[in-house]
């Protein structure tokens, strides 16, 4: 060994970092005052925040909760907080919040939408959280029919007979292949329920009603309104647009020319038309295309249009996710002998959906907020009601308070969705 050679005999351990590398002081220095421009920006921002809050906070809190008119509000605030004070007139919310939530739904039946909402959380829990027992899924399947019945009321037989249409399809899938081959069974499973719903369901329901008239008080669609209607349309649209969007995205990539053409045409047409146009079609035109005598509920028609609109966007979002997958994933699935549907369900879609989560949730949020457009075709969603409230003599001139309340309602929902999507992304991260 020469003089210069050196061999380490003992490896060094880790030392704690010096104090300039940790703690709040470091955070402030690094994030707020790291340079002169940064320091200036910090000070300007602090001033702007102060300026905004000094206007908004007193207005929010020097307010009146129990007056019966805008006039009353103003008088009360001046009396309490001194001449020249301007404050929020929350009294209008206090008086009208039930209407903003439920529209003209009968007061003594408010429990029905409330129960529907609570049950909804039960129904979506197995979809949202993997830890919920899979058996709850059964409830999720019947929930839409239960929700419909709770909200609209009427004969119990309508939702039950409608649901049994899926039973008809199921029977065709199970017993069909043995009798008429699997392709035939698939077609029959698609056609049979439609025939059943269109022609058989009516007489069956009538029959059952005459034998056993079980039901709860029926509510008309024009009695529904407020945030409830936004939720009905928004949540139905969300729940339906994702599966339809997935099918459209897959169809768009199909090697079958007809399937592909139908999907592309649908997507490009619906995306190219403003939602409000589709809503007018729903409210005015759709009845011309339906068989005479069918009275198709306006809310249902709106749900269909909103779903189509969202599904077209969803299809493109998911197509983006599909395109992001390496070709090797398809090949590995093929090489293992998985057929198209299994490969799609087990390998391709989970990954495509995962990379699309942020975009999918953005679409959901957009859809939910777009439900306010239904006020233009006369549905009394919160925006529609707000116009009625402002037109009331007592509240004439009020603006901010109602919109602030509506904004808060929407924000709570959309913000929860956004947080959930972040949770989901973290949970699904598998390290790359």
């Amino acid at each position: 060994m020469t003089e210069q050679s050196y061999v380490r005999t003992e490896m060094l351990g880790e030392k704690p970092p010096p104090s300039s590398q940790v703690g709040p002081v470091k955070w402030v220095m690094e994030n707020l005052f790291s340079s002169i421009p940064n320091a200036v920006m910090t000070l300007v921002s602090v001033w702007a925040v102060y300026f905004l809050l000094s206007g908004i906070l007193p207005w929010t809190f020097q307010s009146s909760w129990n007056s019966t008119s805008l006039h009353g509000c103003r008088a009360y605030i001046v009396e309490k907080y001194g001449e020249g004070t301007e404050g929020a007139c929350w009294s209008v919310i206090n008086e009208r919040w039930k209407q903003l939530l439920f529209g003209f739904y009968p007061k003594e039946l408010y429990w029905r939408p409330v129960v529907t909402l609570i049950l909804m959380f039960v129904a979506i829990s197995p979809v949202l959280f993997a830890s919920v027992p899979r058996k709850v899924m059964l409830f999720s399947v019947i929930y839409p029919f239960l929700a419909f019945w709770l909200l609209w009321g009427g004969s119990i037989w309508l939702p039950i007979v409608a649901f049994s249409g899926f039973g008809v399809a199921y029977l065709a899938i199970v017993f069909g292949p043995a009798l008429i081959g699997s392709l035939g069974a698939t077609i029959v499973a698609g056609v049979l329920p439609i025939v059943y719903w269109l022609f058989l369901a009516g007489p069956i329901i009538a029959g059952l009603n005459s034998v056993a008239p079980i039901g709860i008080e029926g509510i008309d669609s024009d009695q529904m309104g407020g945030f409830m209607i936004s939720m009905i349309i928004g949540i139905s649209g969300i729940a339906l647009s994702l599966p339809i969007g997935i099918l459209l995205a897959l169809g768009r990539q199909s090697p079958l020319f007809i399937v592909k053409t139908i999907c592309v045409t649908f997507i490009e047409f619906i995306r190219g038309v403003p939602l409000i146009t589709l809503l007018f079609v729903a409210s005015v035109l759709l009845n011309y295309f339906l068989p005479p005598g069918t009275n198709f509920d306006l809310i249902l028609r709106v749900i269909i249009m909103v779903t189509f609109f969202a599904a077209a966007y969803m299809a493109e979002v998911i197509r983006g996710g599909l395109a992001a997958l390496p070709k090797g994933q398809f090949e590995a699935a093929d090489a293992l002998g998985l057929d198209y549907w299994k490969a799609t369900r087990l390998i391709i879609m989970p990954q495509a959906l995962k990379v699309s989560i942020p975009n999918i949730v953005s679409n959901f949020i957009g859809l939910f907020k777009d439900t306010t457009l239904v006020s233009i075709i006369g549905l009394l969603d919160p925006m529609g009601l707000s116009r009625a409230i402002v037109a009331d003599q007592n509240w004439n001139g009020i603006v901010w308070e109602i919109y602030a309340f509506i904004a808060l309602l929407f924000w709570i929902f959309t913000f929860s969705m956004s947080r959930y999507s972040m949770y989901l992304e973290r949970k699904l991260a598998t390290g790359h």
Binding site: P326, E331, G337
Partner: protein, 263 residues
């Protein structure tokens, strides 16, 4: 590209049977107007280990991808395990579930754990109960020496480990034939031998294998035959001693001198 293979190879189970595993006759394939495979004739007996080599772009990948119909050939016949490849989907799925394939870039499913990667096809293609599939998977993960990684995701493993998982994933379908497309080309040098070792063990158990590789050490010690391809054709086919010791074609000589370095 010669990773020394130091171990002695146990040849007691490596006998070749008379039964034909794969027969390719007069096969031609085009990509559009580009004639990528030209008049390919290969017969592989059960238990044989064939190494395919040749310059990049010579059609090696395309050839072995035709065997499980990841690519479709236009002329000639390919018979695998007595079943002729045609557009009949039933035949294709049957052959695919009996022919395992290992890719250059592993192609593991990143959203599934190592164990789930291995049990997915047995459960969904073969209909094996989950518990049984998991036991089989653990057995093969032990065989490729990474049972302790079973619950990790592919993204958390090294390249060599991922490739061994990919081999285990194929083995879980209990295939009768294994295809390897440059299984070590995407690996860092120090990980190549762990994958080669796994492949040698497989060979020692008598698996029928077609391996596209430039690992000439592997070819020398393990292969029964080496096939050299260039320009979409089989240029030379011989037992390893002859192929390396006494190559006939000029192209083969040139290729070998490039790949083995100047010796």
């Amino acid at each position: 590209m010669v990773t020394e293979i130091e171990r002695e190879i146990d040849r007691s189970h490596m006998e070749v049977s008379d039964e034909i595993a794969i027969q390719i006759t007069g096969m031609n394939k085009w990509y559009g107007a580009f004639h990528v495979l030209k008049d390919i004739n290969i017969t592989v007996n059960r238990g044989e280990r064939i190494v395919v080599c040749g310059p990049s772009g010579s059609g090696k990948s395309t050839l072995i991808r035709c065997i499980n119909r990841l690519e479709v050939h236009q002329e000639g016949t390919i018979i695998v395990d007595g079943t002729e490849l045609s557009s009949d989907l039933k035949n294709i799925d049957k052959i695919r579930s009996e022919v395992g394939m290992v890719f250059q870039h592993f192609n593991l499913f990143p959203h599934l754990s190592v164990l789930e990667n291995c049990t997915l096809a047995p459960i969904w293609v073969r209909g094996i109960p989950k518990k049984e599939a998991e036991e089989t998977a653990m057995r093969y993960l032990e065989k490729v020496k990474i049972p302790e990684q079973a619950l990790k995701f592919p993204g958390q493993l090294s390249g060599g480990q991922q490739q061994r998982v990919a081999i285990a994933r194929s083995l879980c379908m209990e295939p009768r034939i294994m295809l390897f497309d440059e299984p070590t080309s995407a690996l860092d040098p120090e990980m190549i031998s762990e994958v080669l070792d796994t492949m040698i063990e497989l060979a020692e158990e008598g698996m029928t294998m077609i391996v596209v590789t430039h690992e000439m050490g592997f070819a020398r010690k393990v292969a029964n035959r080496v096939i050299f391809m260039d320009d979409g054709q089989i240029v030379e086919e011989n037992v390893p001693e002859e192929f390396f010791g006494n190559p006939q074609s000029e192209r083969t000589k040139l290729f070998l001198s490039q790949i083995l370095g100047h010796q």
